[in-house]
């Protein structure tokens, strides 16, 4: 096994290596860095040491030649003939990358009788649409879709393949990545091309949103990532025509071993908070009939939606589909107003992408204030009625 060690004669104790290590495997002990047993020999610390004190016998891994792999591909998820937004969002990003790399942007459209959707994909930025139609692809199956997509990847060798990090995408992408022999980055919130190396840098939250990690996919192609819905921006206005390629699915009934027998919808149509422009969030500080009535009124006044922390869902003040956070929904409204919300990391994981954040809390040390644009310290039962009054006084009929 190779290892990394420190030449203490050269080390000046700057601690850059400690900051760099993604595994927490370098520790400060008595003023000096020390490498712990959980070192993976990734070598990142070597890059930051200005003194050359970090040394190793790691062999540089050779990067294969991938110059023949080309094209920025997006899986266009559809259900019952309706395109999921995330595919269009990814086309926006793919368009940007495609222009930078001078490569073709392609959408992958699988299903049965979905031809009509190709025009939409072109108008959101696809140069080419690979259309795979087969009665067996009419409903999603892991194995059917994996086989059909792997066939395309093998035949045309794209450089990048993006899939929405939806229920479907996170079921499909890992199986597909394993089949085509590609590394896969999960649930990304940022994608950009590295200026020097030309590879895709993929940024994603890990450890429950406590940390962001940038991942590179140097050793295999396509560079694959699932991308969180609602993060990338759609770009439209492109011509609604392009190259349409019809492809065979190459599957039989035997390909698909797992079958969906029926879908049971939730009793009430669950609300999709990711589309709301304004969200008023109730925390435990508002967990009462009066509190929720008040916040409901504020939400209505702003033409927004009412949501809650897990505390409110657990105590059944609000239904589960209104929970924001790590185990609830991820939202990106223009305006998020947290009332009586402490701002636990698990909650912040679902709302930190909001454009503007307002926090109302009687405890000035509540962590929610660290992620707020505007903080109001005080009792929400005094502040919110005042806000509702002011809003309705000054702008009758307007939405904010």
């Amino acid at each position: 096994m190779p290892s990394v060690w420190i030449d203490y004669d050269l080390c000046d104790g700057c601690t850059l290596c400690i900051k760099k290590c993604p595994y927490g495997a370098v520790e400060l002990q008595e003023g000096r860095p020390r490498i712990l047993d959980n070192c993976t020999c990734c070598g990142l610390c070597l890059e930051v040491c200005k003194q050359g004190a970090l040394q190793t016998d790691i062999q540089q891994r050779a990067i294969p030649d991938f110059s023949s792999w080309s094209g920025i591909w997006v899986f266009a998820e559809q259900h019952d003939g309706r395109l999921a937004d995330v595919g269009l969002e990814l086309l926006g990003k793919a368009r940007e990358i495609g222009d930078q790399r001078s490569e073709e942007v392609c959408a992958l459209l699988l299903g049965n009788g979905v031809e009509d959707l190709a025009g939409t994909l072109f108008s959101y930025g696809a140069d080419r649409v690979y259309l795979v139609q087969d009665p067996l692809l009419g409903t999603y199956s892991t194995e059917g879709y994996t086989a059909a997509l792997a066939r395309l990847v093998d035949a045309y060798q794209p450089e990048i393949l993006l899939v929405g990090a939806t229920d479907l995408g996170r079921d499909l992408a890992p199986r597909l990545a394993r089949r085509v022999g590609a590394g896969l980055t999960a649930d990304c919130t940022g994608l950009k091309i590295d200026a020097e190396e030309g590879i895709l840098l993929q940024t994603r939250p890990a450890f429950g949103g406590n940390i962001m990690a940038t991942i590179a996919n140097r050793f295999s192609r396509p560079q694959m990532a699932t991308v969180r819905p609602g993060v990338m921006e759609k770009k439209t206005g492109f011509p609604s025509e392009g190259v349409l390629c019809r492809e065979e699915a190459g599957i039989t009934e035997q390909t698909i071993r797992v079958n969906r027998l029926e879908t049971r919808a939730e009793e009430h149509e669950p609300i999709d908070l990711s589309k709301a422009r304004v969200i008023v969030t109730a925390g435990r500080g508002a967990a009462s009939k009066e509190g929720l009535a008040l916040l409901g009124e504020l939400a209505r006044a702003l033409d927004g939606e009412l949501a809650g922390t897990r505390a409110l869902i657990e105590e059944e003040w609000l239904p589960p589909d209104r929970q924001i956070g790590q185990t609830g929904q991820t939202v990106r409204p223009e305006l998020y107003i947290g009332c009586g919300v402490s701002g636990a990391v698990q909650h912040r994981a679902g709302m930190s992408g909001s454009r503007y954040v307002i926090a109302v809390n009687k405890d000035s040390r509540a962590p929610i204030f660290q992620v707020a644009d505007w903080g109001l310290v005080g009792d929400l039962f005094q502040i919110i009625p005042e806000l509702i009054n002011t809003l309705s006084d000054k702008a009758p009929g307007s939405s904010g």
Binding site: M1, K19, C21, G24, D37, N38, T40, C42, T142, D167, R170, D171, A173, P174, R175, A177, R178, A182, G183, L184, A186, R204, P205, A206, F207, G208, N210, I211, A213, T214, I215, A216, N217, F219, V258, N259, R260, L261, E262, T263, R264, P270, E334, V345, S352, V357, F369, Q370, V371, A372, D373, W374, G375, L376, G378, I383, E386, L387, L391, K394
Partner: protein, 262 residues
């Protein structure tokens, strides 16, 4: 019904914080726990065994201390445990993790069902299950939230999707990743737990040689993705605290909203 349950030892992320100076995760003093979803996978396996007989093997890849996760699994009622531990396994991405687990499962053999958690709370990728199923060439169902029937060779399970559930027919052998609404995990049984911690317990350790893998195919060396940087989540917030009594705070707030055209 022979069941394999995959358990990962993870830091309790609810206790993880970020060092404001280094921007690193503070892992010191953070407790290691069984990944929460994996305890639901164990509970499901125990219930299936109660109905159908058979045996339960818990498998974990990790450093030596991950044996604690297996002891806890045995404490809950698993029959035996396999710890995959070797310095060469360190730093594995999901590609290398699924490969290592697959080789170990092939060595063990004889299973009808593999259960894992939908997602680990540290790596958070939800990729290991489907990748493992692909490598083993078996069927997969992700986000299993209920089981309607289970017999040899076939099953009907409920899969959680946004806004509802799907009833799925799935042949066995298969791999299922489970979500927490599937069941309520039991607590480990004290006597069993103590027995599991005995050196002569039913937990074995396999290293790279035991499962016949080359070191270049596992761990960081065998990974296709690399973490090249970590940093704390960025918050570009104005961070302005509005002052005064409720009335004046609200009027400054409304002024700010107007300025920003909200």
């Amino acid at each position: 019904m022979n069941i394999i349950v995959l358990v990962k030892q993870v830091p309790d992320t609810t206790e993880v914080s970020i060092d404001p100076k280094t921007g690193n995760l503070v892992r010191e003093g953070v407790e290691s726990i069984i990944n929460p979803h994996d305890r639901h996978a164990l509970e499901a396996a125990l219930q299936f065994k109660e109905q159908h007989g058979g045996s339960i093997t818990a498998i974990s890849m990790g450093p030596g201390q991950a044996v604690d996760a297996l002891s806890e699994a045995l404490g809950m009622g698993a029959d035996d445990g396999i710890l995959l531990s070797d310095p060469a396994f360190a730093g594995a991405d999901t590609w290398a993790t699924s490969y290592t687990l697959a080789r170990a499962i092939e060595k063990k053999g004889d299973y009808d069902l593999i259960l894992c958690g939908r997602q680990a709370i540290d790596g958070d990728t939800a990729q290991v299950g489907p990748q493992l199923a692909e490598l083993l060439g078996i069927a997969q169902v992700t986000s299993v939230c209920g089981v309607e029937s289970l017999e040899s060779g076939s099953s009907r399970v409920l899969k959680r999707i946004k806004g509802g559930r799907e009833l799925i027919h799935c042949p066995l052998p298969a791999l299922w990743s489970v979500v927490s609404e599937l069941n309520t995990p039991r607590y480990p049984h004290m006597e069993r737990l103590i027995r599991a911690c005995d050196p002569k317990s039913a937990i074995v350790t396999w290293n790279a040689a035991d499962i016949g893998v080359k070191t270049q195919d596992v761990g960081l060396q065998g990974s296709l993705t690399q973490v090249i940087a970590t940093f704390p989540p960025k918050t570009e917030r104005k961070g302005e605290m509005l002052e005064g009594d409720p009335r004046s705070m609200v009027s400054s707030l409304v002024a700010r909203l107007r300025e920003n055209k909200l």
